[in-house]
Symmetry: C3
């Protein structure tokens, strides 16, 4: 079944979600050979950010974790579209990179990013455990609290 | 034609450009199999940064976009050298990562990075649309306003 | 010899080192095909950070370089484990990404990262020169001064 991710999102009541439109002149994802590069994704829902600001200032850890989870939903929505467009299956997530807009004294970026990692693994299983970066940045596009990008692998082309 | 990028840069009056020398003990790019990893590149021209400082403080959005464009010129210069050294063609840019030295209240990193993305696509065409990260960092090497790194794919080795 | 990295670490008196435990629900590394993605690694030794704080404030350049070197030791420890688990050899490091927790006026992130790059090349030789990102971030997990992630390539699978 190549549309596994879409099915799992649907089972969790999270589909159909609209894939966020890039806020600039780039692509939401690129497929080349077996590799998928997914652009930095913001925590939008129906086109609007679910929160804005810096974690440790106007944004709480709990809200930031919700933002990371929403980024992960949008990431999986992108990967579901990759499966749909290519007829191939996403077999692994190699890396997710988490950029957390942080107050200078906020040092729990890893806890924020668990909101994404835990969601992905709970939905798709242990095969979707991944490597990860989590860093605290001063600001993000549109004043988003979290931005997540990813690299994934596809099953071999049937051609 | 394997030297497409060099030709396009030359057509635009942007060659011969010197490839920026890494400011430390690393390589400007690494080729392994079909993959090219390009190091973080600063907005230098003839060896000098075209601006310094943080966007939203001493650097305007317009200047930052010029910096992103200059990073993209330097990136394509590096990819032109890859084509020259390998005799292979760069077929895709998978990802560009844009780090923008940002004042805390500057949240238009995506607009800065359009200075790079638009330049690349205008010069090389829609096949060179790419995935992207854009984040706001507190500072960059040599007080540069922008740093851009990239991943690209090469045509199969003819061996 | 597939266990080259472990041997070199041992020769340098740096083994057996414990691989740092991820501080959250992700993997220290992922192998897929010939590609290895290594998670962001902090400068821990025997489970404790060797320093905390921002470079240019409570952390000196020299201490930050030591932190980058410790991250590199932990990175090579992870790659030694990859060699051990897969029976394959790490042939290249494609990219190391260095995130340096920085005071706003600290702009020597590249010098910090030389602490990692120089260590790797001195230990493993010129074949392990790599592409690199070096950026200044506002804060990192657990108040670490440096976080380094990496991408590497493995020798072809013997199967």
């Amino acid at each position: 079944m190549t549309r596994r991710i879409a099915q799992r999102l649907q089972d969790a009541g999270l589909l159909p979600a609209a894939l966020p439109t890039p806020v600039a002149s780039y692509l939401p994802f690129v497929v080349s050979g077996d590799i998928v590069a997914v652009s930095g994704i913001l925590p939008t829902q129906s086109g609007n950010l679910i929160a804005t600001g810096r974690v440790g200032e106007s944004v709480s850890l709990e809200t930031a974790q919700e933002c990371a989870r929403q980024c992960a939903i949008n990431l999986l929505t992108a990967l579901a579209r990759v499966e749909d467009e290519t007829g191939r299956q996403v077999t692994r997530i190699l890396r997710i990179s988490g950029f957390v807009a942080s107050a200078p004294d906020f040092t729990d970026q890893h806890k924020v990013m668990n909101g994404a990692s835990d969601f992905i693994v709970n939905l798709l299983g242990d095969d979707f455990r991944h490597s990860r970066e989590a860093v605290g940045v001063v600001s993000l596009p549109l004043n988003a609290p979290v931005e997540i990008s990813a690299w994934a692998m596809l099953s071999p082309d049937s051609d």
